[in-house]
Every structure is written in C-alpha cells, then in structure tokens.
C-alpha cells in the first residue's frame, strides 16, 4: 500500500529578489485519544534520529502513551532527553498509518512553541517502512510504502 506524502511549502525572496522555496514532507496518521482516533499531521524529518511528540499534542489531546524511560544510558553516562529546551521522557504508543504502527518518541514534559509530531528515522526502522521522495517538474512528490 502506498501512503502519499503532502508537502509544506513556503517561498521566500532573497535580497536580490530571487525566490527561495522551502519544503517539508508531512503525513497524516490516526492517533488514539480517550475519545477514539483523531487524525494528526506529522512532519517527516529524516534528520531527526528519534521521533518527538510535543507536550500540547499529547497533553491537551489526551493521547494514550506509555512512558518507558526518563534517561538514556550510553556515551558518558545517563543523558536527560531534551527538546526545544524542555525535558522529555521516552515513551511509546500505537498509531494507525494504514495499519497499526509503533511510535517510539521523546514526549516533551512541558509546553513548547506550537509544533506538530515529528516522525524521525526510528519510526521507519521500527516499522520497516520505505520512504520515497522525488522532485520533478511539478514539484515534490513522495510516498511511504507499506
């Protein structure tokens, strides 16, 4: 099954009047809440090794997730996970993206400026998903292949 990506696009203008177009791929997945599933837009960030769920997203929407670790052991001893200057906790939840998928992420423990869920590289590894992105005459297109 192919899940088409959509693209956030913004065009800026340089001092010389040249256009600069910037893009981010996004996907919509179903997230479990206390009142059933609700679609959420997620930013796909292959530069992010680990997915992120902002505080507002899980706290206000009452998402069902399971905390799994406050720290991560590794190089140089235990590391407190941070994002946007706030502490995070490692957790996991199951979302629906053309079937159930495991979302392991840093869950921010305090509010941050508005941001969507970020799907990092671990999401694709954990769920054995293929990501295709290409650019042609009509702009970007892409899909997640399940």
């Amino acid at each position: 099954m192919d899940i088409p990506l959509t693209f956030l696009t913004a065009t800026y203008s340089t001092d010389r009047g040249q256009a600069l177009s910037l893009h981010r791929p996004v996907i919509t997945a179903q997230f479990p809440t206390h009142a059933g599933f609700l679609p959420r837009r997620c930013i796909i960030d292959t530069g992010a090794p680990l997915s992120i769920v902002p505080y507002d997203v899980w706290q206000v929407r009452k998402l069902k997730w399971l905390a799994t670790s406050k720290n991560l052991g590794g190089r140089g001893g235990p590391t407190v996970m941070m994002w946007q200057g706030v502490a995070c906790e490692l957790g996991e939840m199951q979302i629906d993206l053309a079937g159930p998928r495991l979302l392991v992420a840093k869950f921010a423990l305090q509010p941050t400026p508005p941001f969507d869920v970020i799907l990092g590289m671990n999401f694709f590894a954990d769920n054995d998903l293929e990501l295709n992105v290409k650019h042609g005459t009509t702009g970007f297109s892409g899909m997640i292949v399940v």
Binding site: D2, T6, Y12, P39, R41, P49, D56
Partner: protein, 77 residues
C-alpha cells in the same frame, strides 16, 4: 498498488498543508481547519480548540488541529 481513503478531517489537514496563505498568515500558531477554512488559531491549543468548538458546534475530539511551522526554523533535537 492501492491508495488510502481519506476522511473529511484528513482532507482538511491536507488543505491546510497545501494552502500558501495559511502558511503565511498563521506561522507559529496552531490552527483548526474545518471544511477548508481556518475556524480558530493561536498559540494556546486549549483556547484554540474551545474557539473551534464554539464556531463549528462540533466537539474538539472531532476537530483536527495542526501547528503551522516556520520553514526557515530548524528543529533541534
């Protein structure tokens, strides 16, 4: 190859993603799209959802929201 069928809520999220005016006007805010228009926006998600409920008459759990990012802003881990 099969394609995924989308709900009205998902269609609204795709609309808000692809609409350049929304990106310009609401950068750095949460928005609630409903029937291809933004019915509430702001930086406090609780307030935004309350306003969306008032405007649409729908409960918040039937209204999707998303954040409008500034694409020039990197997202540090």
């Amino acid at each position: 190859m099969s394609q995924v069928l989308r709900s009205h809520q998902e269609e609204d999220l795709i609309w808000v993603t692809e609409d350049a005016e929304v990106q310009r006007k609401y950068a750095g805010q949460y928005v609630v799209p409903f029937q291809r228009r933004v019915v509430a926006h702001g930086t406090n998600l609780v307030t935004v959802l309350r306003e969306a409920e008032r405007v649409t008459g729908k409960p918040a759990n039937e209204l999707p929201d998303c954040a409008i990012p500034d694409l020039l802003q990197e997202v540090p881990q």
